[in-house]
């Protein structure tokens, strides 16, 4: 017990003396997480709405598959994408392996099922009267989608937040596709993994605290966004 507390105390002390490398890692973590969240949202939300509102055969099966994809381990995603992005792989020519772009790709794959599944639930959860009222007032498909997003904004925003949270804190993909290259693809999470493997527990905790503080800040931003009334 005492050792744990000591490590915690040391971690808090270390917070004061974090160096440039940590900020570089933090900026990278934020950057890739933000970009992958944006991409996953841009594709996942419309997809989720389309499936959620759709009435077609196999909808249940599709939804089940989607939910199953939520259990994809990050290392598996990393492994599959590695074989695709490797110079010998399908997309080897793009030379994306061990760059931040590869991390973004992997994190997109990670976040996409999550955002889609939650957007699906959000679309289904919107009061059916919304759709009927909008339809009755002459809303076409695009207006309808905008209206659904607006009426269900809480749930849709939650989908985005969940997606961000998932990728911001992941390490398997960053490690396998980024390579944990110092100064280039070293994120906060891979740094934590590295330092912890070297036994630097206090530093690992300190970095974890930094990570969670940033996550908290981002979520406060989301909260503020949610409160704004629509135009």
């Amino acid at each position: 017990m005492r050792w744990t507390l000591e490590q915690l105390a040391e971690a808090l002390r270390l917070l004061g003396s974090l160096d440039r490398e940590v900020f570089s890692a933090l900026a990278l973590s934020l950057g890739v997480a933000a970009l992958s969240t944006v991409l996953a949202t841009a594709s996942g939300v419309p997809l989720g709405i389309a499936i959620g509102l759709g009435r077609f055969r196999g909808k249940r099966i599709l939804t089940t598959v989607l939910h199953t994809l939520l259990a994809l381990p990050t290392v598996l995603i990393g492994l599959v994408l590695y074989s695709v992005l490797s110079r010998r792989g399908l997309l080897g020519e793009w030379r994306l392996l061990y760059t931040p772009a590869a991390i973004v790709m992997g994190q997109c794959v990670l976040a996409l099922p999550l955002v889609t599944a939650l957007a699906l639930a959000a679309a289904e959860g919107v009061d059916p009267r919304v759709r009927l009222t909008a339809l009755s007032l002459g809303a076409g498909r695009w207006r309808m989608a905008r209206t659904l997003l607006s009426e269900g904004r809480g749930a849709f925003l939650a989908a985005v937040v969940a997606g961000f949270g998932r990728v911001f804190g992941e390490v398997g993909i960053s490690m396998m596709l980024g390579g944990n290259i110092r100064g280039y693809t070293r994120t906060v999470t891979t740094t934590i993994a590295l330092e912890t493997a070297k036994g630097e527990v206090a530093l690992g905790i300190a970095l974890g605290l930094v990570l969670m503080t940033v996550a908290l800040t981002v979520n406060l931003l989301f909260l503020w966004l949610r409160k704004k009334p629509t135009p």
Binding site: R20, E21, F23, S24, A27, L28, G31, L35, S86, R87, R88, G89, G92, R95, L97, Y98, T99, P100, A101, V104, G179, N180, I181, R182, G183, Y184, T185, A197, K198, G199
Partner: protein, 284 residues
């Protein structure tokens, strides 16, 4: 579109020695990035942090180091995902070159392996006659032993020693960590078990371990490191020029001196191999 956005983002992000200039693949002077695959133990020793910046300054391009297990490092070389490899597994290295994936293999440095264990040395390996004998004693005493278990150079060396002792390690006392050297050491430390480690990682971790080196044999447990450039004939867009520059530099008197001067807690970690000791003065 993605690359453009990424380039923008990365320019804003990088606050390391790599000066931002357009595409992340370019250094300050139009030199392409050099990708080096090495083992976790090499990276964990801290040598590369001392060695590479000077090279990068001189050559004018960043070196991206990807630290994985030996097997994987060589695979990265085979796949062309890196431009050069720095590993310490002579048998595997020879196969790598023989298969045509690597060229210009140069010995860089060496250190040695140690057998670490709990202070009271229950298996009494301190009195062993040689590495196989030490392992035999551990097996007979059924003292806890933590192995890398990941087909790394260290692990393969360990297996060679078991074979030399005519033993197959099995039983509750033999644990396979499946992780890097540092993590494996921590596990062994936690359990008060024996462990085979390279000196470099041990010295780097010394402050956190209660384990002590109980058996040393610098000759029998010698651990030589080589650097190999990836063959551009197989991978046309490998940065052969950069790889060769790196090979040349680490085996140059300047590079070798840095290696020889590298200390962790006042202890020598690596012994330069490429340049005869006579030329750099005190080599040992």
């Amino acid at each position: 579109m993605m690359m453009g956005g990424l380039a923008l983002m990365l320019s804003a992000l990088s606050c390391n020695e790599n000066p931002p200039a357009g595409s992340p693949e370019t250094g300050s002077g139009n030199r392409q990035v050099i990708r080096l695959a090495t083992t976790t133990s090499t990276e964990d020793s801290g040598l590369l942090e001392r060695l590479l910046p000077l090279f990068e300054q001189w050559w004018g391009a960043p070196v991206h180091v990807i630290a994985v297990g030996t097997g994987r490092a060589l695979n990265l070389g085979r796949n062309g995902d890196v431009d050069a490899v720095l590993v310490h597994d002579p048998a595997a290295e020879e196969a790598f070159v023989a298969e045509g994936y690597g060229i210009n293999r140069r010995l860089v440095m060496y250190n040695d392996f140690l057998l670490l264990g709990p202070k009271d040395d229950p298996a009494k390996i301190g009195q062993a006659s040689g590495p196989p004998d030490a392992l035999k004693r551990i097996a007979q005493a059924e003292s806890a032993f933590v192995s890398r278990g990941d087909n790394s150079a260290t692990h393969k060396r360990e297996m060679t020693l078991w074979k030399a002792a005519d033993l197959e390690p099995t039983g509750d006392w033999y644990l396979e960590a499946g992780q890097g050297m540092s993590a494996t050491l921590l596990m062994a430390d936690e359990r008060g078990a024996y462990c085979l480690s390279d000196r470099g990682t041990y010295l780097a971790m010394r402050g956190k371990l209660r384990l002590e080196p109980l058996f040393e044999d610098p000759e029998a447990l010698k651990n030589p490191y080589s650097i190999i450039a990836v063959n551009p004939a197989i991978h046309r867009d490998a940065n052969y020029l950069g790889a060769m520059a790196l090979v040349a530099w680490v085996t140059s008197p300047e590079g070798q001196k840095i290696i020889g001067d590298f200390r962790v807690d006042d202890a020598v970690l690596f012994h330069p191999l490429a340049v005869p000791s006579k030329q750099q003065g005190d080599g040992k």
